[in-house]
């Protein structure tokens, strides 16, 4: 890393060096993790609360004498919004589960010794990883039929299923990269030792390499989950009844323009409260495993 660092920063104004160093470190870490990392900390929470309170204040100031207070209004809609949030979580769980299983296969295919398998997996991984999530979501929404008929039985495919599949695709691609990155981060000497003890490739991978990968995969995987959870609101654009959609409905039912800021920062707060512990835990795990290696 030192050489890399020197090469990256030589010929740069000295005053930029601390920044360059920090950015280099972050870039290396993200490359090792296979995905951009979520660096949430408590100051973000404070900022959010401030934004929320400001929003409430503005709304309150604009409201007329007959209107109920902003907090009463929020409280009234909270059960509905909470139901929407649970739906967001359900979509995130399922998309994560499907994406992880598919991503494991794709990741192993990426290190296959068979060139067609390897190349195909590489292509699929990078295609879905670099495609915008929203575009993938629209593809799934509009390319999948709204019902299928199997042996005379018509099974409807609800929108949320399609949205889940649409979100599972980028998750799959990211998990695939996490798996590949973790496997390749295990020193080749481990392969050498296993080979010299007459383990075959499959045994080496399953008994020696992959068990060592799990620790390394956990932080980026959790990070990916937090990113996915935040992305589930994209499903509102394609008409799934999740928190964002319900917020819009609540706003149009109230028809008080001033509520916008308060409501949306309220939604943000919910997502922050859910993702913040995951992000912190990820950072802790990362630090612990970094020490152990």
């Amino acid at each position: 890393m030192n050489d890399f660092h020197v090469a990256q920063t030589s010929g740069v104004l000295p005053v930029l060096l601390p920044l360059a160093e920090r950015m280099t470190r972050a870039a290396l870490r993200e490359r090792a993790m296979g995905s951009p990392t979520l660096r949430l900390d408590s100051s973000h929470g404070v900022a959010l609360v401030v934004a929320f309170l400001c929003g409430c204040g503005i709304t309150q100031a604009q409201s007329q004498a007959a209107d109920p207070s902003i907090f009463t209004t929020l409280w009234k809609w909270t059960p509905l919004l909470a139901r929407g949030f649970v739906f967001n979580l359900a979509i995130s769980f399922m998309a994560m589960a499907i994406g992880t299983i598919a991503g494991l296969f794709l990741g192993f295919a990426q290190i296959s010794l068979l060139p067609p398998v390897k190349k195909g997996a590489f292509f699929a991984t990078h295609f879905f990883r670099n495609a915008p999530w929203l575009v993938l979501l629209f593809y799934c929404m509009f390319l999948l039929p709204f019902q299928v008929t199997v042996l005379g039985v018509t099974i409807p495919i609800p929108d949320w299923t399609k949205a889940t599949l649409g979100l599972a695709l980028p998750v799959m691609a990211n998990v695939s990269e996490i798996v590949r990155g973790a496997i390749q981060s295990i020193p080749t000497t481990q392969w050498e030792a296993a080979t010299s003890l007459a383990f075959n490739r499959r045994q080496t991978l399953w008994m020696i390499i992959f068990p060592q990968c799990i620790k390394r995969m956990l932080p980026p995987w959790m990070n990916l989950y937090a990113i996915l959870t935040m992305a589930t609101v994209l499903a509102s654009i394609v008409g799934v009844n999740e928190m964002m959609t319900l917020t819009q409905r609540a706003l149009s039912a109230e028809s008080r323009p001033g509520l916008l800021l308060a409501f949306y920062s309220y939604v943000l707060l919910w997502f922050f409260l859910y993702c913040y512990p995951i992000a912190r835990w990820t950072v802790r795990l990362e630090a612990r495993y970094a020490v152990n290696q």
């Binding site: 000497t189 481990q190 050498e192 030792a193 296993a194 080979t195 010299s196 003890l197 007459a198 383990f199 075959n200 490739r201 045994q203 008994m207 020696i208 068990p211 060592q212 152990n292």
Partner: protein
């Protein structure tokens, strides 16, 4: 050279090997008798480690022949053939390369159970006996990360021995250790050699080589510059290159 009356268990003839355009081995030939101890010395980059890796088929060779027991190493094509060879030839590495997610005992037991498909109970007994032999019976449930370098290296030796190999290859096994722990590892190897294990060592421990080796090979630039009994080679080197190297080391 091998003992006159016995067929060498390891025989290399005119072995060539290159990485890209760089020729690392330029025609190496030698033999090791069963139970013999051969030490390979020489400056870094002279192809010593590559040579060991060629012997157990980790690295394919360009031309020449390598025979180990009944295996024509240069002709092994399928994975099964290579695996069969590696059951006979075991290797110990400079950086120990223990499996960090397994305890010392599990490290020793894994290969016999999963590769040789032996009875786990029997393997366990043998593994404990081997750890006792290298003086680490008390550490059997310890993970490699909690062992010192010397202890890790002794576990690595036990792990290799658990495969009941005919030939042991040691690749600078003491180079990464601090001087105090070098001794405990060398003692283990000494004991093995006295028990009649065929050993090929790449080493920088000249005193050890002098004491234990039946033959010492001095390599430089991918060839064997000089070989002979340790007393001859160390005390009366014939080649200038050998003399220069030894004068720097001793």
């Amino acid at each position: 050279m091998p003992e006159a009356n016995s067929e060498p268990i390891v025989a290399l003839r005119d072995v060539h090997q290159s990485f890209g355009d760089v020729e690392v081995l330029k025609g190496v030939s030698f033999g090791v008798a069963k139970g013999g101890v051969v030490c390979i010395i020489g400056p870094s980059g002279s192809g010593k480690s590559t040579l060991l890796r060629c012997i157990n088929g980790l690295v394919p060779i360009k031309s020449g022949s390598i025979r180990v027991a009944d295996f024509e190493v240069h002709n092994l094509r399928t994975d099964q053939e290579k695996i069969a060879l590696r059951k006979e030839v075991s290797m110990v590495f400079q950086q120990y390369n223990l499996f960090p997610h397994k305890t010392a005992l599990e490290n020793v037991m894994m290969a016999p159970i999963y590769v040789l498909k032996e009875d786990p109970k029997e393997v366990r007994e043998r593994a404990i006996a081997l750890l006792t032999k290298v003086g680490l019976a008390a550490k059997q449930d310890t993970y490699p990360g909690e062992l010192s370098g010397g202890q890790q290296q002794r576990v690595a030796i036990a792990r290799s021995l658990a495969m009941r190999p005919e030939v042991m290859l040691f690749d600078e096994v003491t180079a990464a250790l601090d001087p105090e722990t070098v001794k405990e590892v060398l003692n283990t190897i000494r004991e093995l050699a006295r028990e009649g294990m065929t050993c090929i060592l790449v080493t920088h421990e000249m005193r050890f080589a002098r004491e234990l080796a039946d033959e010492v090979l001095f390599t430089d630039g991918g060839t064997i510059v000089e070989s002979g009994r340790p007393a001859e080679l160390f005390d009366h080197p014939r080649k200038d290159r050998t003399r220069a190297f030894l004068s720097q080391i001793l």
